[in-house]
Subunit: 381 residues, 2 copies
């Protein structure tokens, strides 16, 4: 077992109606003004915006707004948020939405306390040393952004979809109310399920050393995701399944699963980022395409764990059958499993591979994932 | 799924030699003086005391000492620690030892910032509103005291072994170096294993609602505890098994397992506290005696979960066989499973039941666990 530091100071407020207390949670942290960040006008139509702002007003918390955050959030919008936060001297950032909104809230929080270009953090040119406190009210379960210090932002100019990770942008408090997640469409539910599974299996398969306990936690997450996804596709209003799905999503990427492992990496996310950067594919959809292809390419490098996966998740002995069963499950829940299904032509592979190999270098995987290897993997998709 | 708040701000520094950085961790928190709390002189003989104090000195952190903490730590010693902390105006408490030392460090930390009698917190006469920051260097894995806000203290005068729980006494930083745990004897290893399993199954069996994900986490913990205990009984120097055992112990009682469950309680701990209060039995040994007896008495109240336990942990269908297999496993690793083995006479049951029923009231289980019911359970042991 490898040495590690585990530190996750985010407080989770989980349950029905908890967004009505967000003003109280922010006030308890001694904060008087926030930048309210959100996506489409959907939260205005469904009443969430009103409930959140009512809670802020009740506690006397002033706020400025930045709406229109898109999935695969973009750097130009982050810059706007930073400018507002700096000009109005706001004390915190409150994201109300899904993982994209949370990610953008974090990037703004880091940039608001930095004199240089916030993109410096994403390309490892500078380290985050301070940030505004972040709060979130989540409307989508998948990214675990509510309980980690990660933020993924797309630089539209350079077509780089890069990330930061710092406990300084871990949310201080995140509200997870499963009821707010009940209106998500079946397609995004499926993409979310794939994303959660992707978070779970990256280190599970790639770590050079992986304690049995961590394997069991990952398998527990995957089993619960699959189980609750199937319930929710049948009955979107099953609160308990929705709640378990949401909490499992948080556990999949809050720092618990990789503790004590050695040498894990995130190749599927790395390759997928090029799909969503160049073709604006939904992140979970891109992952559903990449994962089975990557598994087929990678399996011999960690055969024991692939056999374990097949056995524990699907009750089969053969690792190829395990991969095939996962691929079929992705298809069954409605996720694309080939590039063609996402309207990405074979001729696009070259450009995708070049883009992804750039990120591979930034993520320290340049030696294992050359342009040619990434192209070889994508050919399987 | 029930609403919950999850908040665990303890930073874990896990791995070899990390006790040598304890001064640095304390300094980073802006602290200049600590009360150093420890148990026997063993840490002076094995060099741990020297390494810890060297680290404090290197960072210019002043310290006073309180040694001689016993297992089932006593209130009279807590009072001494509080007096030292108040008189010397110390800024934090550093516990170096096992769960008992950590528990006493927390009680001192709470009492040092309180004008009244610290026992008020234990009998619910007052709430903890502030406390000195707590740090720990752990030498024994079992209680998870390194990552929770719990402290159990024995009032020698009243023979009450009662507890507090407050995030204000969660350690700021805890060092878990599995190498420091390698010298524990086989008996205490067995007791620790039982204690970890006890922490895991209390809510697992008693919650009126228990999400599948939580069941899976608990089963993962139990499987890993059993697996690593058997490895360590064969080879106490297996670092990876020691490390996994330690980390699993932490996960078993850091607040993760009960999230979203409804109505769970800790009857086995409640009954066991009377065994260790009246007969000074080691906590884990007492639990090994109580658990199988309690399971036989309780099983019909949650038959589905007892069947699940039998299936998942031992691969058998019948719930009675599951209980029997757990009991046999306790015996196999060298834990006592009857009152007689712990030299507790049948005539002692009456007094034990009276003592435990007192705690049942404090813990809000007075209605379910009368003196007679507790006696009925203990008769099975």
């Amino acid at each position: 077992m490898n040495d590690f530091t585990y530190y996750n100071p985010t407080k989770i407020e989980f349950g029905r109606g908890k967004e009505n207390n967000i003003g109280e949670y922010i006030k308890q942290a001694g904060i008087e003004t926030v930048l309210l960040v959100y996506g489409s006008d959907r939260i205005k139509k469904n009443g969430l915006y009103d409930r959140v702002t009512a809670s802020l007003k009740k506690q006397g918390i002033g706020y400025e707004e930045l709406g229109g955050i898109v999935s695969n959030p973009v750097l130009s919008s982050v810059y706007i948020g930073i400018t507002i936060a700096k000009e109005k001297k706001l004390q915190a950032v409150l994201g109300v939405g899904g993982g994209s909104v949370a990610d953008e809230a974090k990037a703004i929080a880091a940039g608001a306390k930095y004199e240089g270009d916030v993109w410096d953090f994403f390309i490892n040119k500078a380290q985050i040393t301070q940030a505004l406190p972040v709060f979130t009210v989540m409307t989508l379960a998948a990214t675990a952004s509510e309980m980690n210090g990660n933020s993924v932002i797309l630089n539209e100019d350079t077509k780089q979809k890069y990330s930061i990770g710092s406990v300084l942008v871990n949310p201080v408090v995140s509200v997870i109310n499963p009821e707010l997640m009940a209106t998500v469409g079946k397609d995004y539910l499926a993409y979310s399920a794939v994303d959660i599974i992707a978070h779970s299996i990256e280190v599970y398969f790639t770590a050079t050393a992986h304690p049995n306990f961590n394997s069991r936690i990952v398998e527990s997450i995957i089993k619960s995701v699959m189980e609750t996804t199937e319930i929710l596709l049948e009955n979107p209003n099953d609160y308990d399944a929705r709640a378990e799905f949401a909490w499992v999503a948080t556990q999949a990427l809050n720092g618990l699963t990789p503790t004590g492992t050695a040498g894990g990496s995130f190749p599927n996310h790395m390759i997928e980022h090029s799909l969503s950067a160049l073709y604006n594919v939904a992140h979970g959809a891109g992952l559903a395409i990449v994962i089975p292809a990557w598994m087929k390419w990678y399996k011999t490098k960690n055969l024991k764990q692939f056999k374990r996966f097949a056995q524990e998740i699907f009750g089969v002995e053969n690792e190829d059958v395990g991969i095939e069963k996962l691929e079929k499950w992705f298809a069954k829940i409605g996720a694309p499993i080939t590039l063609a299904e996402a309207n990405i032509p074979r001729e696009g592979i070259e450009e995708l591979a070049i883009n992804a190999s750039g990120l591979a270098k930034v993520w320290g995987m340049g030696d294992s994932y050359s342009k040619d290897i990434i192209a070889e993997i994508l050919e399987k998709a």
